[in-house]
Symmetry: C2
Subunit: 258 residues, 2 copies
Amino acid sequence: MDPLANIRMVLVRPIYGGNLGSICRAMKNMGVTRLVLVNPNPEMDFGEAQKYALHANDILETRSQVTSVEEAVGDCAVVAATTGLKGLYRSHTKTPRELAPRLIESAQQHQVAVVFGPENHGLSNEEMQFATHLLTIPSTPAYSSLNLAQAVMLCCYELYLASEQYAPPQEFHPEAPVVMRERFFDLWRQMLLDIKFCDQVKIDHMMMGFRRIFGRGYLSEADVNILMGLARQAAWAAGKSAAKDPAADAKRADELAK
Amino acid sequence: MDPLANIRMVLVRPIYGGNLGSICRAMKNMGVTRLVLVNPNPEMDFGEAQKYALHANDILETRSQVTSVEEAVGDCAVVAATTGLKGLYRSHTKTPRELAPRLIESAQQHQVAVVFGPENHGLSNEEMQFATHLLTIPSTPAYSSLNLAQAVMLCCYELYLASEQYAPPQEFHPEAPVVMRERFFDLWRQMLLDIKFCDQVKIDHMMMGFRRIFGRGYLSEADVNILMGLARQAAWAAGKSAAKDPAADAKRADELAK
């Protein structure tokens, strides 16, 4: 059971079609699909909404529409209403990041709603009374009023992350072990001498520098293969290596780097 | 020194004025003020941008404009380039939440850039080459392409939170200590008997139920005052209390609840 399927976004008296479409797109980006409109602007431009929804037109088309907040959230166990920094009861609000795990937990078994007021001002006290929780999105005091679609996006984003469905794309880049790193440092040491970058007196000091540079971050086996290929090629170019051109190795390392 | 003042948003070849304006607003909401455009659409509708920027027109007006990514990020120590889930090098990307603390740390001393591609496709390989870090915004595989302004908002939001400047609005609601809670439970116990809600046989069991109900969440001193006022008034209404009408207490509790 996907908890996000039990979470609905409730827009109270929304005005602009562009925002409505952007909200559908933001919801679909974050895996939230249920949209309820409470008394939308009778002049709402649904053509514009379609334009902004792009590939989230399914969410726009499957929206519900009701005539009161009570009707929109009647079957919900948890109702989070959004309010501005300066809103009434502001001292009881939580941030989306604080509240998202609670909403996801409830949504495992219950219906959950997040309620947003119209663009021009927030929810009225009557519309807020059904809220079990109040929610304020962090913003600077210098300009705390967010665009409605941006506010919905941030809430959906926090819900999506709290649902722990996001698996960051990860290919496995095995980190080079010490034996491989030491083979690489040996090759570089010899190469630096071969190309006369430094002499026997300074080589230990120089190698400490290179160890520092290459020790600062993650160094994968593929990375080390590239760096060893470079050392072999430089030694070859300086006429110090075996007869065979090691460029073939370098090309292979190049492939590995992709 | 505010680290956000050292972080710039770089938009490469942006197309739409509406997005540009929304980006200015999102940036200002989150305390990020430096905007650089690289080769914006020559037909860019700056009137529309102004309309969408609303109270963030200062960011629009103080933008820089350059002709290459190299120029936009040349003085930066850290450059995070955004890339889609399907982008090249995707296996090396981090999320905004993972990367934000690193960017804020660098921005204490260095210039930092976050680079975004145009609306219709991402950054080219040439434009990405200056990146020290790659960044992918979490989204569902069902619809992973975010609106540009939404993408900028999520990055600025994570940077703002990582900068730890947001102080959630908090008035102090002291939690009721045990002695106060016990006084309240004693009053309720007597009131439940007085109004004949239950008898001496069942009262202990019933009080366990009320202890459970009121023990589930945070109960402030103000909350307990309301609940005690209710008990006094109910006992009075049932003719079991002292002569004086305790409604004055209830009104005081009502004041406290605000």
